[in-house]
């Protein structure tokens, strides 16, 4: 009788474990899928650097690293690991994480200079990934970056409509992006046509309004007469 009971317990437990295991597995799966997505996005960030020209880039000392800033709740985790040692344009790439604007402000309330220094630090980034957590403060952030040549990238919806430069989005399991060319031009950034070609949508407020494109056809390149 005792034996039968113990067997029953084991049986019940093992049955219970399956869904748990399944959930854990799917969680892991979900996690690894998410991980993969952000690994791709991280690689994209690096790749963007290759196809964007910052002003006075030729005169910059090669020893100066390129800075990718992540502002807000970092969704990348360790997604930067595979590419963290890559050199782009012969320079090292550093990833700097910044707290969310709220937190910065909170900190700054005690110390005004903190806001200043953080802002400066953020402006020093070459590329700034604005996490979705900052949705509410977007225009503020964009405003604070005026005059600085920072390439703004985000996953937020309608980022490029909100004067963000590159918006990352998922389409059929693939990472795609949209570009706001005029925003980049305002920041003195030159985006190469090869890159633009690949964009799902290029928004250009100069000339004939926002131009929406098909799947990266070369016709898009011809449309962008000015650069």
């Amino acid at each position: 009788m005792k034996i039968r009971i113990s067997i029953l317990v084991v049986l019940v437990l093992s049955i219970a474990i399956v869904p748990i295991a399944g959930k854990v597995a799917s969680n892991i799966e979900a996690d690894s899928a998410a991980n993969r997505e952000y690994q791709v996005k991280a690689a994209f960030l690096y790749s963007f650097i290759k196809f964007v020209d910052w002003p006075a880039e030729d005169t910059v000392d090669v020893n100066q690293p390129i800075i990718i800033g992540v502002l807000g709740t970092d969704p990348f985790g360790n997604a930067f690991e595979p590419v963290k040692d890559t050199h782009v344009k012969g320079r090292k790439v550093n990833v700097e994480r910044f707290k969310s604007l709220e937190d910065i402000k909170k900190d700054a309330s005690q110390d005004v200079s903190l806001l200043r220094s953080q802002t400066d630090a953020i402006r020093k980034c070459h590329l700034l990934f604005i996490c979705s957590s900052e949705k509410g403060h977007l225009s503020e952030i964009i405003e604070s970056l005026k005059g600085a040549s920072v390439l703004t990238i985000s996953e937020m919806e309608d980022f490029v409509e909100s004067r963000g430069m590159i918006e990352l989005l998922m389409e059929e399991g693939k990472v795609r992006f949209e570009v706001n060319l005029s925003a980049a031009e305002k920041a003195n950034l030159k985006i190469r046509s090869q890159l633009l070609r690949l964009a799902k949508k290029v928004v250009n407020e100069n000339g004939s309004g926002p131009v929406s494109l098909g799947n990266g056809s070369r016709g898009a390149v011809l449309g962008m007469a000015r650069n």
């Binding site: 791709v40 790749s47 196809f51 090869q194 890159l195 799947n215």
Partner: protein, 505 residues
């Protein structure tokens, strides 16, 4: 013309080959450039994993119909995007592990181009095209070459036939004339000069040469005629001379025949004489012997019946018989000389003369000496002995002095030996010098010694048989010297014999 065609053919072939190579290279270059361009333009697509964009890029390849395939591969070698021509029929590399290009495959030209972004190879582009352009070019060129060849051949033909008239024409003409002249031997023909160029010069030279030849020809003919005349003359001369020679030869033959006949006759006569002398003396001796024997018998048997006068007369008779005997002996001896030959040998005269002196038995009041060393000669010993014997016995016989001195001398002349027998005897009158050598001639001797009158004759005969001479020098009452010579070639002596005689003497 053949030369032209061949040259053009070679040039054409070389051109085609070169063009082929050049075109291959050009096509490879073109394709490589295109691959580079595509590589350049798909960097972003690869970086952002946008296969659609890459494929759109590749679609632009359709512009060049010869491009059969275009592929972009990621850094792992897996195909990322591709493009196929309608006529695609080959399999393409699904994986990549090559570099550069492959232009030797006869079906497809394949080009690989690495895609390098920021010093890192992010993928590879592979383009493949067929060789249609090459074949087109080849056909095109071949056609052109053939056309050019044809045209050139025709042109060459016309030009060469035109040139022939100008250049080869006169030369062939000249050759013809030369051939004619050689065949017909007519050196009066001349070539006609038409132009004033090098051909003209040639013709001039040719004509000059013919002039010379003609001249030589006539000279030759003349000298030939002269030669013939001379040959005739000489032949005539030779014929005459030949005839004369023949005559002489005949006469000589006749003379020789005569001579031979005469010789035979003489030989015969000589032989007859010899045998006659021999026979006669033998026949004469026989009765003499008889007479002598009889006289002796009478002397002994009838000695008591004879008186002194009778005995004296018998004695005289016997003497006369004896004398007659000696005479016959002498004749016999004389006849033997020249008939009987003995072996010639090396004779040491010193020894021989010594023997002769002993044989002669000189009386005590006469001394015979040999004054000089006598040579050794090659001769018939007996005959030489006879010579010395006769001369010595004569000297003894005609010695009138109480102390008789006889010397034998010898001297060497150039070609002969001169011997001499010197005595201090009676001497001889000059008028008898010749006579004494004649047969049966005697001079009155001292003491009435009988002489056969043969001795000197024999000596003379012997000496003259050997080729020598004999003569006498004498003064009446003082003495005489009989000289005789013997030629040296008779007296050849070998080295050994000379040495022997030297040692001995």
């Amino acid at each position: 013309m053949v030369t032209t065609v061949i040259a053009l053919l070679f040039a054409g072939v070389a051109f085609i080959v070169w063009e082929q190579n050049s075109t291959r290279r050009t096509m490879t270059q073109d394709l490589s450039i295109q691959a580079e361009m595509i590589a350049e333009n798909c960097k972003a697509a690869l970086s952002f994993n946008d296969a659609n964009d890459a494929e759109e890029l590749l679609k632009s390849l359709h512009v060049k119909s010869s491009i059969v395939f275009g592929g972009i591969y990621n850094k792992n070698g897996d195909m990322f995007a591709s493009y196929h021509n309608d006529n695609c029929y080959e399999s393409h590399p699904a994986r990549l592990d090559q570099n550069g290009y492959d232009s030797q495959n006869n079906k497809l030209l394949t080009v690989f181009q690495p895609i390098i972004l920021e010093g890192e190879t992010v993928g590879t582009v592979c383009l493949q095209s067929d060789w249609k352009p090459l074949y087109v070019m080849l056909r095109h060129n071949t056609n052109i070459i053939m056309a050019v060849l044809l045209f050139a051949a025709v042109a060459a033909y016309f030009i060469s036939s035109k040139l022939q008239k100008i250049i080869s024409g006169p030369i062939l003409n000249l050759a013809n004339i030369a051939k004619n002249i050689s065949e017909k031997k007519d050196y009066t023909t001349r070539a006609k000069k038409e132009t004033n160029d090098e051909i003209g010069l040639l013709i001039n030279a040719f004509n000059e040469m013919l002039e010379q030849i003609q001249q030589r020809e006539s000279e030759l003919v003349d000298s030939k005629k002269q030669l013939e005349v001379r040959v005739e003359e000489r032949t005539a001369d030779l014929k005459i001379a030949n005839k004369q020679l023949q005559k002489e030869v005949e006469e000589r033959k006749k003379a020789e025949a005569n001579q031979a006949a005469l010789l035979e006759e003489i030989k015969g006569i000589n032989q007859e004489l010899k045998s006659f002398a021999y026979v006669v003396s033998h026949d004469l001796k026989a009765p003499l012997r008889g007479i002598s024997t009889l006289a002796e018998w009478i002397a002994t048997d009838y000695a008591d019946k004879l008186d002194d006068e009778g005995k004296e007369q018998l004695r005289l008779l016997l003497n006369r018989v004896e004398r007659m005997h000696k005479l016959i002996d002498g004749i016999l001896q004389y006849s033997r000389i020249g008939r009987v030959h003995e072996e010639k040998s090396s004779v040491n005269l010193n020894e021989l003369v010594k023997d002769v002196i002993e044989m002669v038995v000189p009386p005590s009041h006469i001394t015979i000496t040999v004054e000089n060393k006598l040579p050794t000669i090659v001769s018939e010993p007996t005959r030489i002995a006879q010579v010395f014997q006769n001369l010595l016995s004569n000297a003894i016989k005609y010695m009138d002095k109480p102390k008789g001195i006889i010397k034998i001398i010898c001297s060497e002349e150039n070609k002969f030996w001169k011997f001499g027998v010197v005595d201090n005897g009676l001497g001889i009158e000059e008028k008898h010098f010749e006579r004494i050598f004649q047969i049966f001639q005697t001079l009155s001797s001292h003491g009435g010694t009988d002489s056969t009158g043969i001795g000197l004759t024999v000596v003379k005969k012997i000496v003259e048989t050997y080729g020598g001479k004999i003569w006498v020098e004498s003064k009446l009452g003082v003495g005489s010297t009989f000289y005789f010579t013997l030629p040296k070639h008779e007296t050849k002596v070998t080295e050994d014999e000379k040495l022997q005689t030297n040692i001995v003497s």
